[in-house]
């Protein structure tokens, strides 16, 4: 499969994502600068983490207006897979490709540590190969990862199975303590209605090799390429 890894001014997880696709999975990957306007020939688009445009105005707000985002919109509406990680999730939300909002962590601090998350089994290609009974260890590193939707929107997300991941304890319990940032209903990742666009705050690309302390993120990439 051919992956596009988007690069904005301030992206800083782009090489990590590229490395996982090329070196760990052995698939094809190319960096695509945000001024470009085409995603022709790609199967998957990764919008990586970082601090695009220095988080000016709101996280992801300025990047969501970059020329490449119109191509992402077309790519997604044609059924292409789009994965937004951390700042990539924030960009997808600001672009209107995913529902809700991401506001400052409830504790107001930047959090960089390992957390556990559990897939909901929402019938999406990103988590198809993951075990819904398992807790996956991945790092988070963000200031604005507090996922927010109205109670009505939350009900819709539940009903449409648009919740991809929730924060849990190592033992798989969905408790308030397992929720690092105050996210509504412990939500760590969401899908669009068509389930070909996913955003998540945790970093699977930083948990894809044993040397990094966890290989739990690899399962997600293997799921995408149908190798699980």
């Amino acid at each position: 499969m051919r992956f596009a890894v988007l690069v904005f001014p301030g992206s800083n997880c782009d090489y990590d994502a590229y490395h996982v696709v090329r070196q760990v999975l052995g698939e094809r990957a190319e960096f695509i600068w945000h001024r470009e306007a085409s995603l022709d020939g790609f199967d998957v688009v990764i919008i990586p983490g970082g601090f695009s445009y220095g988080d000016y105005l709101r996280t992801g707000a300025i990047a969501s207006l970059s020329p490449i985002m119109e191509a992402v919109r077309q790519f997604a509406s044609a059924g292409g897979l789009v994965l937004g990680i951390c700042n990539g999730f924030q960009i997808l939300i600001e672009a209107g490709l995913l529902p809700g909002a991401l506001i400052s962590n409830s504790g107001l601090r930047f959090i960089s540590r390992q957390i556990y998350l559990q897939p909901e089994g929402s019938g999406d290609p990103f988590t198809a190969g993951l075990d819904t009974g398992r807790s996956y260890a991945m790092p988070i590193a963000h200031q604005a990862g507090n996922y927010l939707v109205s109670p009505q929107e939350l009900e819709q997300l539940e009903k449409n199975e648009q919740i991809a991941f929730r924060y849990v304890t190592a033992a798989g319990e969905r408790t308030a303590d397992a929720n690092p940032n105050g996210s509504c209903a412990n939500i760590a990742g969401v899908l669009n209605r068509e389930k070909n666009v996913m955003g998540m705050m945790p970093h699977p690309e930083r948990a894809a090799e044993a040397v990094l302390g966890s290989v739990d993120g690899l399962a997600l990439f293997e799921s995408i390429i149908g190798r699980s």
């Binding site: 105005l57 709101r58 707000a61 207006l65 600001e94 809700g100 909002a101 506001i103 400052s104 962590n105 409830s106 504790g107 107001l108 507090n146 927010l148 105050g182």
Partner: protein, 82 residues
């Protein structure tokens, strides 16, 4: 004209910064403070525009970029520049 845009977290939206500042004010003994909301102030220079046009441009700027209506509300005023 100059537009003064005030953006605040929407009513009912968690504002941890505002809560923290409110608590700090009460800790200082400024205990009449019931609630604080921390937002943003943006100034937009709109030279050579009449009031109606400046208001229209400012509203468009708010709706298309400056404000995220899911979490923020805004007000603005347009005043004469130098």
């Amino acid at each position: 004209m100059i537009a003064h845009v005030y953006i605040t977290p929407k009513e009912g939206i968690l504002d941890p910064q505002g809560e923290t500042v409110g608590q700090a004010l009460r800790n200082l003994g400024i205990d009449k403070v019931a609630a604080v909301r921390v937002g943003k102030y943006i100034e937009i220079d709109l030279p050579g525009m009449a009031r109606a046009g400046a208001e229209k441009v400012t509203r468009e700027a708010c709706e298309r970029l400056l404000v995220n209506p899911n979490i923020e509300s805004y007000t603005f005023e347009v005043v004469k520049g130098d």
